[in-house]
């Protein structure tokens, strides 16, 4: 009996999370398989909270999250097995070397040792970390730390990569490397969801863009779709600001 292939890498329905006030308020969102999806929104819009719930770092108050057809709330381990989470602040251990870190992650995700090592060495070479492969991460710059964390997110070959502001604080060369690696993943059939404040990145890289404000999705589509929805503007910046203003007025 053949299994039905899911259409979406991520499907969120009626997602809610409340702290002092609603952070995510009945959010519906779908991301197709093999898509590069950028999630935009002003500070405090609920982007990070949404992605933290998807990654299993926060429990929603209501709603459902499906990752490649797996109910992430009912079977979080199965969902985690096929995704990776990368935050703005790299999650690495200062006292481990990049290779030791990747060995640890490969072990956690149950990747075969030989396969994991081959991938780790390939990623280290790809990200230009080879000269530092046997140094402890404690002396690394922000860009190098982010590269190590990115290698960690990729070493177990996730189907879905979720990145929260991965380019913040990176220099131009490091940012370009990270963007190239992500693009390659999408070309290879992976799905990437990324939040960013750098609108140019979303404009150039994303297949579709979602704009979130006050915990709700207020606009979604390709850049042209968004321009049409905003009814004006040439750049994404103008479109984004108009959409957020319209969304705020509507609510």
């Amino acid at each position: 009996m053949s299994q039905i292939q899911p259409l979406f890498a991520l499907q969120i329905q009626g997602l809610e999370k409340r702290f002092a006030r609603p952070a995510v308020d009945g959010l519906d969102l779908s991301v197709r398989i093999g898509e590069f999806y950028a999630l935009l929104g002003p500070n405090g819009a609920g982007k990070t909270t949404t992605l933290r719930m998807v990654s299993g770092l926060l429990r929603p108050d209501a709603g459902s999250i499906s990752i490649f057809g797996i109910d992430a709330l009912k079977d979080p381990i199965a969902a985690k097995r096929i995704m990776a989470w990368l935050s703005e602040e790299p999650m690495i251990y200062d006292k481990l070397t990049p290779l030791e870190y990747l060995e640890f992650i490969a072990g956690l995700w149950g990747v075969d040792a030989a396969e994991g090592e081959a991938r780790a060495r390939e990623l280290i070479g790809w990200l230009g970390l080879e000269p530092h492969a046997h140094e402890r991460c404690e002396g690394f710059s922000k860009g190098m730390r982010q590269k190590v964390a990115l290698a960690g997110a990729l070493v177990h070959e996730p189907k879905l990569i979720i990145l929260d502001e991965p380019l913040t604080g990176l220099d131009a060369a490091a940012a370009r490397q990270v963007k190239t690696v992500l693009r390659e993943r999408v070309h290879a059939g992976g799905t990437v969801i990324m939040t960013t404040h750098i609108l140019e990145v979303a404009e150039r890289m994303a297949d579709r863009i979602g704009v979130i404000a006050e915990g709700k999705l207020i606009a979604e589509g390709t850049l042209d779709d968004l321009r049409r929805q905003a009814g004006q503007g040439e750049s994404l910046e103008e479109t984004f600001l108009t959409l957020v203003a319209q969304g705020g007025a509507a609510q």
Binding site: K80, M91, Y93, K95, I105, L108, A113, G116, R136, E138
Partner: protein, 511 residues
């Protein structure tokens, strides 16, 4: 208002920071807790006074001129405290070199950095002095209540000792920095500080064991041979002891000497502090090289978690220095064990509680690092492993590391007395498990670098851990001695553990 960049301006700035840090230390960020902590501390101090009373009382009354025996005993006790102060001071100086905090801001500003470091050296002396005064207060108070007001002069001597400790710690640490280089100085100075802190008390105990077959420091200090070897009562060596005993002339001399030491240290070294911190910061950015990994090793998720914990524990210099301190304190009992080979009487009752107590304390520190000090909590939380698997692996690593440290001691103990060694082994497992459970109940999300300040987050956890370890140690000792009294400390330890399990914050907040 003092002008910006002057000594008094920096002193005001440091005072404000220290005061706020102190407030946050006692309140753990919750202002309402301050009153509770003050009342708790007062009650604890009262309890300490009562506990110290029977120990200090016999030495309180001194009629006429102090004898050589009295001077030796007082000087020995003061030196013991001073070695701990010196150890603490070396720790503080090292921290100034390597912890960046606000140094980048100040060193990049146009103010004279020498003034800031002069103030910081002074602040270290004040901090260590306050700590010394707080710790010695119960002893001094009891001596003053029984033996008269003249003992109160000891407070001033403790303050002077803090000045001298910092004055010596600064050149010592700088010398280490220059001799072995900034790369290794941080680690080595922590080890040296630990050794200095423990060496005097251990030296006295080793002397006592070799001469009299006992662990009592006082037996050695008050021995005829020691008194005979000591200088004559008229020697200036006894000035600190005379000052403690209320001789105002000696007190003035000690205070003046220690103040001069600190002033000289500040004058000579404050100017160089800035240069050393800059060198140290360059080293901090230079990562340590590890032996290249020969290849990824196949392992279960539980195994990789445990391996990660062990690698991080092994590479933690502060933890290693603390573990070394624990091991150093085990040396005298080990020597006693060796001396008493074939005649276990008395040794069992000493060694069993020492081993159990040390294991409980070490396991508590390791458990905090493994359970609360997770530097990548989001990574672990997004990994396809259950929270239970993570927890089991962390507990594994704590108990395993404790076993590795204490296993050889238990084996050596078994050569003298198999029964006592078995009791000690069981006690070690129980005390380590209890400390781990306490850390589990009070777990929080913190960085490993916050290890030194772990007691801030929960004083209840600190006391629970101490009472639990003491309880199991006393239980082990009484069982070895074959006394039913063992039931009492065991009951106390169980009550502590049950209280922690049922009322600890982790249970209340568990989802």
């Amino acid at each position: 208002m003092s002008a910006p960049g002057t000594l008094t301006w920096f002193a005001r700035h440091e005072c404000r920071l220290s005061w706020r840090e102190f407030l946050s230390f006692i309140s753990a960020g919750r202002r309402r807790r301050v009153r509770g902590v003050v009342i708790g501390t007062a009650l604890f101090l009262a309890f300490l006074h009562l506990a110290v009373w029977p120990i200090a009382a016999p030495y309180a009354v001194i009629d006429g001129e102090p004898t050589k025996l009295t001077l030796v005993t007082v000087t020995g006790t003061a030196l013991l405290s001073w070695s701990l102060m010196l150890s603490q001071a070396m720790e503080s100086v090292t921290r100034v070199f390597y912890v960046r905090s606000d140094l980048d801001l100040i060193l990049s500003s146009p103010v004279v950095a020498r003034r800031l470091f002069a103030v910081r050296i002074g602040a270290m002396a004040v901090g260590i002095g306050i700590m010394g005064l707080a710790l010695s207060a119960p002893v001094i108070d009891v001596l003053a209540i029984i033996g008269g007001w003249r003992w109160l002069a000891a407070y001033a001597v403790v303050a002077a000792m803090a000045l001298a400790a910092v004055a010596l710690a600064v050149p010592l640490t700088i010398a280490l920095f220059r001799i072995i280089g900034p790369k290794r100085a941080r680690f080595v100075s922590q080890i040296v500080a630990a050794v200095i802190g423990a060496s005097f008390v251990i030296g006295l105990q080793v002397g006592a064991i070799l001469s009299y077959g006992t662990l009592s420091r006082f037996a050695f200090l008050r021995s005829e041979r020691m008194v005979a070897l000591a200088p004559d009562v008229t020697s200036p060596v006894w000035a600190p002891a005379r000052a403690i005993l209320g001789d105002m002339g000696a007190l003035a001399a000690v205070l003046a000497f220690c103040l001069a030491m600190l002033a000289a240290s500040i004058l000579c070294f404050a100017g160089r502090f800035g240069d050393y911190t800059i060198v140290a910061s360059a080293v901090a950015r230079n990562a340590a090289q590890q032996r290249p990994l020969s290849g990824f090793r196949p392992a279960s998720s539980r195994h990789v978690l445990r391996r990660k914990e062990w690698a991080l524990l092994r590479r933690d210099p502060w933890l290693i220095s603390q573990t070394l301190m624990q091991l150093l304190y085990l040396l005298p009992p080990a020597l006693l064990l060796w001396k008493s080979h074939g005649d276990a009487t008395g040794v069992e009752g000493v060694l069993t509680p020492v081993l159990i107590m040390s294991a409980g304390q070490l396991a508590g520190a390791l458990a905090w690092l493994a359970i609360s000090g997770e530097d990548a909590p989001d990574l672990i939380a997004t990994a396809p492993v259950t929270a239970r698997q993570v927890l089991v692996a962390k507990i594994d690593s704590v108990l395993g590391a404790t076993g590795i440290v204490f296993g050889p001691f238990v084996l050596a103990f078994a050569m003298v007395s198999a029964k006592a060694a078995l009791i000690a082994a069981i006690g070690i497992v129980v005390a380590a498990a209890a400390s781990t459970e306490i850390q589990l109940a009070f777990r929080l999300q913190a960085k490993r670098s916050h290890f030194r300040r772990r007691h801030t987050s929960s004083r209840i956890a600190t006391f629970a851990e101490a009472f639990s370890s003491i309880g199991w140690a006393a239980t082990g000792a009484f069982i070895v001695l074959g006394s039913w009294v063992a039931l009492l400390p065991a009951f106390q330890a169980v009550v502590v553990l049950v209280g922690v399990i049922f009322f600890g914050p982790a249970r209340k907040t568990a989802v």
